[in-house]
Amino acid sequence: MGTTIKNREAELNTFRGRILFSAFAIIIAFVVLAGRMAWLQVLKRDYYHSLAEANRISVVPVVPNRGLILDRNGEVLAANYSAYTLEVTPSRVANLEKALDDLATVVDVQAKDRRRLKRLMEESKNFESLPVKNRLSEEEVARFAVNRYRFPGFEIRARLFRNYPQGEIASHAIGFIGRINVAEVKKLETANLTAMYKGTDHIGKQGIEASYESVLHGVTGSEQVEIDAGGRAIRSLAKSEPTAGNDLTLTIDIKLQRVAEQAFGDRRGALVAIDPTNGEVLALVSKPGFDPSLFIDGIDPQNWDLLNNSPDKPLLNRALQGAYPPGSTLKPFLALAALESGRRTPTQITHDPGYFNFADHRFNDDLVGGHGAVDLHKAIVVSCDTYFFQLASETDIDKTAEFLSRLGFGARSGIDIDGEKEGTLPSRAWKERAFSKSPPEARKWYAGETISTGIGQGANAFTPMQMAHAIATIANDGVSYKPHLIRQITDSTTGQKNIIQPVIDHQLDFKKSNIEIVKEALADVPKAGTSAGAFRNVGYASAGKTGTAQLFSLKGEKYNANRIGEHLRDHAWYIAYAPADKPTIALAVLVENGGKGAAAAAPVVREVLDYFLLKKLSDPKKPAVTLDVPPNSD
C-alpha cells in the first residue's frame, strides 16, 4: 500500500515536472513564431511589400495603331481593322492536339489553321500567345465564351489586323507585315527597340512596310493593371497612351498601277513609271503578284510552297531584283555617249548591208539586206544593229561603262525599299572581278565582246528600275532625281503633313544639243519607227525605244518563237516618256519571255500612257495586247 502511494506521488511529481517542461517549451516555441512574424512583418515589411506590389501590378504594353499606307490620291493601300482572334499559349495546354480537336466542335478550326499553328510553334517560344484562328465571327466568340472553362490556355483577344484592300495590286511595293521572328527579335535587341516592340506581334517584312517600319510602327504606350495570380487583368491603375504610327502617302498612283498590272495580263514582267521631274515612282509593277495578307499571321505551308516554288517566282520583285539584258533599249544611251565623246556626229553615215563583219565573225542585223545608209537618228528609230556594231568596234568598253555608270547603270538607284540589285555593267574591271577564280584567259576582255555589248547584249544586265531611271534622266535633260516611293508622311498626333522633297542624285553636264538629237530620234520611234504599230492613232506625242533581249544564241539560224521553249524566248522591253516635249512620266516595261519588244512591251506602255495622259481605260475584258509586227521591227 505504502509503495503504491509513494509510486503515485512520484508519478504525479514526474507528471507535473513534465507539464512545466512542456509549458516552458511551448512558450519558447511561441516566442520563436512571434519573432519570425516580427521579422517578416516589421523588419522585412518593405521588402515583402514591394514583392506583393510586383505580384499585383503588371505593366502591360499598349500597342500603337500602325500607320496607314495611302496612294498619292489618298486611296487606302494598307489599313487596320479590329477583330477577335482566338489565341493559345501552348505551354499552358497539356495536350494541344486533343484540345484542338475539342475546340473544333466550338469554333471552326481548319486543317490549315493547325498547320500554321504548328509552324508558328516551331518558330516561337512556348509562353507566347499564338493565334489559332483569326477573324472570329460574333457567333463563334459567343460559343467560345460559354465553353471557355473547357479550354484552359485558350483566350479570345480583340486585336488590330492589317488589311491590304488592293490584294495583289502593288503587292511588291507595299510589301507586308508578318509575325516577328527570332532573327528580328535579335535585330530589335541590338537596335535597343525591345521595349518599343513589347506587345507588338508583327513587323514589316518587305516593301514599304519593312523600309518604313520605324515610321509606321508608332510609340508603344503602357498601362499599369492589377492582375490576379492567373495573370488576368482585374482593373486598370494608370495608363500612358500610345502614339499611333504615322501615315504614309506613296508616290504611287494606284489606278495607274492597276491599269499597268492589267495590261500585263497573265504574263510575267515588270514596269517602273517615274515622274522625271522629281523622281516620284508612279507605278512599280512586278508580275505575277501575290496576296500580301497571306503572310500576316504566318503563311500556311501549302500556300508558301505554292508561292515559293512556283516557276513564275511571284515573290521576286522583278522591277528591282530582276536583271535582264537591255537589248536595243540601251542604244539611245550608247548614241548619246557617241555624240558626247565626239565619236559620231548626227549626220555621219554608216552603211548597213544586213551584217557586220568583225575579225572572222559575222554579226547579223535583224533586217535581211540591211537598212542601207543609216545616220544616228535613223539608227535609233529603226533600231539598226549594224550601226551600233560599227560604233562599238570603234569604242573602248571602259569608256562606255564609265559613261553608262553616270546614268545609273550597274548601280542601285537608291529607291527607298530593300532588295534592289545592281545589275551588270560590263567593263574590263568587271570581268576581272567576276571571273577572279577562273584562268587568266577567261578574265581577259575580248574585242568581240565589245561588239555584242554594243547592242545591249553580252554581259549587260539591268533592272527595269535602272532602265526607267536612265530614260527619266534623258527625259529631264540630264537632271536625275533619286527614285522614291514616299510622297508625304502625316504625323498621327499633330496631323502635320511632312512632304518629302525630291533629291537630285546627279546633274549630268551633257550638251543640250546632244540630248535633243537623241530625244528627237526617240520621239520618232512611236511615230515612224519600231513601235509605230503600238502607237497608231495615239492622242499625244510620246518618245520611246523598243528592245528585245536574246536569251538563246541561234548561231545564225532564224529566230522562231514557236520552235523554242517558252522560258528561252526573248524578253521584250520598251522604255518611254511622255509627253515628248515636256515629259511628266518616264517608264520602262519588261515582259519576260514576251518575244519582241514592239509586240509585247510597247502595247503595255501604250495602255499606261493612254490612262495617264488621257484617263482612257482599255476594255478590261479585252485580253492583254500583243501586236503582230514584222521581224525587223526591233
Binding site: F15, F30, Q41, H49, A52
Partner: protein, 370 residues
Amino acid sequence: MSLRTATDFLFDRITRRLDTPLMVATVVLAAISLTVVFSASGGVTFDRMLGQLRNFMVAFIALWVIANISPQTLMRLAIPVYVVGLCLLVGVALFGDVKNNARRWLNLGFATIQPSEVMKIGVPLLLAWYFHRREEGLSVKDYALAGLFLMLPVGLIVRQPDLGTAILVFASGFFVIFFAGLSWKVIISALIGVSAAMPFLFERLHGYQKNRILTLFDPMQDPQGAGYHIIQSTIALGSGGILGKGWLSGSQAQLDFIPERSTDFILAVFGEEFGLIGNLLLMTLYLIIIGRGLMISMNASTTFSRLLASSITLTFFTYAFVNIGMVSGILPVVGVPLPLMSYGGTSILSMCVGFGVLMSISTHKQLVST
C-alpha cells in the same frame, strides 16, 4: 416551477459540463475563422463562410456530447475505438481508394472516410487507458508495449503515404508516453539515434516530400513549383506589416496569389489583412487554450485523465506550431491545418472532440480513493 427556474435549469443543464475559458477562446476563434474564411473565399459570396459555420455547429454539438460523457465511460471506449481504427487502417491498406498517388481513403459504401483521422484520438485514448491500467508501477516492458501500440497505426499511415498525419498521430501517442514518465535517458538517446539516422531516413522519403524539405532551405530554386507556396505566403505575411492591409484588402489573398488560402494557408490571408497585431492576438488565443488545457491536466484526478488531457493539449499545440511554422516559412510544407481557423469539417471536428474530452475531464471531478 417558474419559467425563470426552468430557464436556469436548462442553462445549467447545457453549460455545466462546459469549461468557460476554453469555450470562450474557442468561440472567439470560430468568429475570427468565419471572418477570414469569408475574405479568403473572395469576399463576395457567403457560401464558404456558411459552410464553415455549419462545420463549427456540428463540431460544437460533438463537443457538448463528449463533454457530457464521463472520463470513465471514455476510458471504456478506448479499446473499441483503437481496434476499429486499426481495422480500418488495414482495410485502407488492402482496399483503399487511391487519390493523388496516396491510398488514404476507405469507401464504406455510404461514406468515404479517412481512418487515420480516427487514430488521432484513438491512439492517445488507448495509451492513456493502458498506462492507467499499469499505474501500479511501470516497467520497460510496458513502454515497449505502448511503443508497439503507437507504431502499429503510425507505420500503416506512413505507408499510405501520409507523412503529415503520421507525424501528428505519432506526436499524440508520444505525448502520452512522455507524460507517463518515459525516462529522459531514453528520450535523449532516441533523439540522438533519429538524428544519426536522418540522412538515411531522408533517402527513404518520397520525391515530393524531399522537395518540400529542400525548398524550405531555398524556396527560390523552384519558385513556380514546390517553392511557390512558401514564397507567396511569406510575401503575404511580410507585406501585411504591423497593422495589416485591412479585411478584404490583402492583394495576395484577394488576387489569388496564396494557394489553398482558405484551408492550410489561411494564416497567410489573416496575417496579410490583420498584420502582426492579428497574428499576436491569434497566438495569444492559442496560448490561452493550451494554458487552460495544461491546467486541466494538472488538476485531473486520474492517470487516464491526466495523460489524455495533456496529450490532447500538446497535440493541439503541435498543430498550431507546425501550421504557423509552415506558413511563415520555417518548417516544411506538410498538410496540417491551422486549428479552429482553416476551412474544413474534419479538422474542426477533431479539435472540438478533443476539447470535449478536456471539458469532460475538467467538469467530472471525482475523489480519488486513498
